[in-house]
């Protein structure tokens, strides 16, 4: 029960983050939203593992946290190397 409530809340947060990722306006807002989305995915998987009583899922949650981090770092590295044309014009 309590995990079900938590999952609903996490889903709502994910929805809001998704909306922010769609809306932009700058590329950094999108990256921020994706990062937040990733964190919530980690939580979601962990909580879902508890809901179904299969704590194996925690391994996946760990992988996600890691992958999310690397993804964000890679994206930012990329942005720093090739500054997006829209970054300065749309702030």
């Amino acid at each position: 029960m309590m995990f079900a409530v938590t999952i609903m809340a996490i889903l709502v947060i994910m929805g809001i983050a998704l909306a922010r990722a769609f809306l932009g306006p700058t590329i950094y807002d999108r990256i921020l939203a994706v990062n937040m989305f990733g964190t919530k995915t980690v939580l979601f998987i962990a909580v879902y593992g508890f809901l179904t009583e299969r704590p194996d899922f925690l391994d996946i949650a760990l992988v996600y946290a890691l992958i999310n981090f690397i993804g964000v770092i890679a994206v930012l590295k990329f942005v720093e190397r090739y500054p997006p044309p829209t970054a300065t014009s749309k702030d």
Binding site: V34, L66, P84
Partner: protein
């Protein structure tokens, strides 16, 4: 949410934002896999879809450029037609499919019962997915590994890896102190985690494919935070190429070994004193081969792409 993300991907013009959103897309689909209880698939999706493909796509954009080419108006409707027809056919095909979680469906009658009922005493490992993947479907998995290897060979022969000869000239203090310190702190643990995933594929979700990707992610993190030169010095592409081939060889060699021991190709039961021990050893070996090939292939692909892009990415 998947649908929304897809629509947004199609509508956006900036390739970069599309890469971001496809990252979200794979996170979402992994969630769905988790809900469907397909843990191993979710694991793979997490590692491959969200991580590696994002990085590789970014590296590709580094070569191609930011914006999508404006396309001509004329040809817009043909793809739409093709997609609609294909989608309609797929949906039509799905009508005949049995309902979800229907246990009398044909797919659950054919080999699944044998996998589920027999695998505990035939293979003797708790994670059934690994049992199916590595033992019952050993040929298929070998095919997949060879596909990865072939893709690697293709990319390398097309663009190749340029090893930078000169070390980048660091101005003191280093450019990204926080990132570098944290990366150095984390990398050993990531590598250990990858190896844990590799060797515990028998017991929980995980296995060679996922472990290979996580391992390569550690190296990619190193390359990203320090430099391409350092990454290639840590794991020289020459060695990687040999190891990638060695991974496939280990897989195939296990099969040959089983034949030498008098069994058929990839029938591990003959490897040990008891059939279960043999299966265990065989699975361990081929998983190792898979992990080796996937890890090295991913690293080489990454190196190939970044070395084509900017000099110091």
């Amino acid at each position: 949410m998947l649908v929304l993300t897809t629509i947004a991907i199609v509508r956006l013009r900036s390739l970069f934002a599309i890469v971001m959103l496809s990252g979200i897309y794979s996170l979402l689909s992994a969630n769905i896999f988790v809900i469907l209880d397909a843990v191993d698939v979710a694991f793979t999706e997490a590692a491959v879809g969200a991580g590696i493909s994002t990085v590789l796509m970014l590296a590709t954009i580094g070569i191609t450029g930011y914006e999508m080419k404006p396309r001509s108006k004329k040809r817009r409707y043909v793809p739409l037609l093709v997609v609609t027809v294909t989608g309609a056919v797929l949906v039509y095909g799905m009508m005949d499919m049995p309902g979800f979680t229907d246990s009398t469906a044909p797919i659950h009658q054919h080999v699944a019962p044998r996998y589920i009922i027999d695998s505990p005493h035939e293979i003797g490992i708790p994670n059934m997915v690994t049992a199916v993947l590595a033992s019952y479907r050993g040929y298929d998995t070998m095919g997949e590994v060879i596909v990865v290897f072939a893709a690697l060979v293709g990319v390398l022969s097309l663009i190749g890896v340029r090893v930078p000869k000169v070390a980048p000239n660091y101005i003191e203090p280093p450019a990204r102190p926080i990132l570098q310190v944290m990366a150095k702190f984390m990398i050993p643990f990531i590598i250990l985690f990858a190896l844990y995933v590799q060797f515990h594929g028998d017991f929980g979700p995980g296995g060679g494919f996922q472990a290979g990707v996580i391992f390569s992610v550690a190296i990619i993190l190193y390359t990203l935070t320090f430099s391409q030169y350092d990454g290639m010095r840590l794991v020289p592409p020459k060695v990687l190429k040999i190891l990638a081939a060695a991974g496939v060889l280990i897989y195939g060699g296990t099969g040959v070994w089983t034949m030498l021991r008098g069994g058929s190709f990839l029938n591990y039961s003959v490897l040990g004193e008891t059939s279960v021990a043999g299966q265990h050893l065989g699975i361990l070996l081929i998983e190792f081969g898979v992990g080796l090939t996937v890890a090295t292939a991913m690293m080489l692909l990454f190196f190939a792409f970044v070395s084509r892009g900017e000099k110091n990415l």
